[in-house]
Symmetry: C2
Subunit: 217 residues, 2 copies
Amino acid sequence: MKKDLKNVSMAVIRRLPKYHRRLKELMEKDVTRISSKELSAMIGFTASQIRQDLNCFGGFGQQGYGYDVAELYSEISRILGLTQHYNTVIIGAGNLGQAIANYSNFEKRGFHVLALFEKNPRLIGLKIRDIPVIDIDDLEEFAEDKEIEIGVICTNSENAQDVADKLVKLPVKAIWNFAPVDIDLPEHIIQENVHLSDSLYVISYLLKMQNEEMEES
Amino acid sequence: MKKDLKNVSMAVIRRLPKYHRRLKELMEKDVTRISSKELSAMIGFTASQIRQDLNCFGGFGQQGYGYDVAELYSEISRILGLTQHYNTVIIGAGNLGQAIANYSNFEKRGFHVLALFEKNPRLIGLKIRDIPVIDIDDLEEFAEDKEIEIGVICTNSENAQDVADKLVKLPVKAIWNFAPVDIDLPEHIIQENVHLSDSLYVISYLLKMQNEEMEES
């Protein structure tokens, strides 16, 4: 039932991690099967959206039975590539870089952080869990005999492009960028930008709306 | 031209911060006006989507002229509530909490971080920029004479619900949650969860697809 995944839209892809998360929660609660309607109530997408999304990857559910939670979870893990292993480096060992290196969950999903790189001499030589902080000038040499697939940028905006250029030269295949700036990259490099402010601004919008409603009533 | 904003969908709201970010970039490049088509090329939404989105808030563009960049930027700032001021506390002064307290950009947008709260005695008493790290047991007393609107949860998953309950009692109006767990909150409390893994899993998916394509060719 394997379908051609090249035509699956990014909107669908971006919803997959949410299914993955909810299914894991269900497994932890020993739920073994779930209908698209129940999943809809949990996740906030319509049941028809859920059926449509999952149909992109071949049908998983069974009419009248729903989805087998463990099976769907493992299928989505596989579709997301979470059963694979990715060598990862983090550039910038400040608070954010250290916080990400500390997420042991990422390690469990196959994102193996080999090292953090840093230019601040006070941080070079530290260990975050067991991960060394290495001089950024040694990045190229370090990467020589390793196939590094993902570079995480945790520097400030000013250094982000420079760091990205270095990562592209290694070469990495994907960049996960936390600097609040868009980076110019060759087209074949996968780029994911995390803009924390986007989520904060949604809070701000909702707060403003709530405050206005209270003033009106 | 003020429209009733209560019917604007969350999908539109979630796109607004992206417009805001792009318009700021345009202003920094001294671009004074832009068509929905040009904006579409920058931002990756279709021109018709952009016109539709912005029409939810009253028409801004002018046929044949496009959008006045500075005007649209300031309108979207206002719609997002970024012209207001929000008292904010961060719970958890570990790496992530410190990283967020260090984002001076949030301060500029009106999110005024009054303090970080922490139970680890080695962190209590520190200052992040000028922001004090205070004993979590003193949260209630601290909040007594301040109107705190936003609580940011930067603890681990195990403590997140407990911390959320404390924040609800203060009371805060919104919770920005970075712990990788969903929190039970009263309905009137605004909840934004940041799941960093969602973005990482998208990278993983795209990497897997790219690797498979290379194997095929």
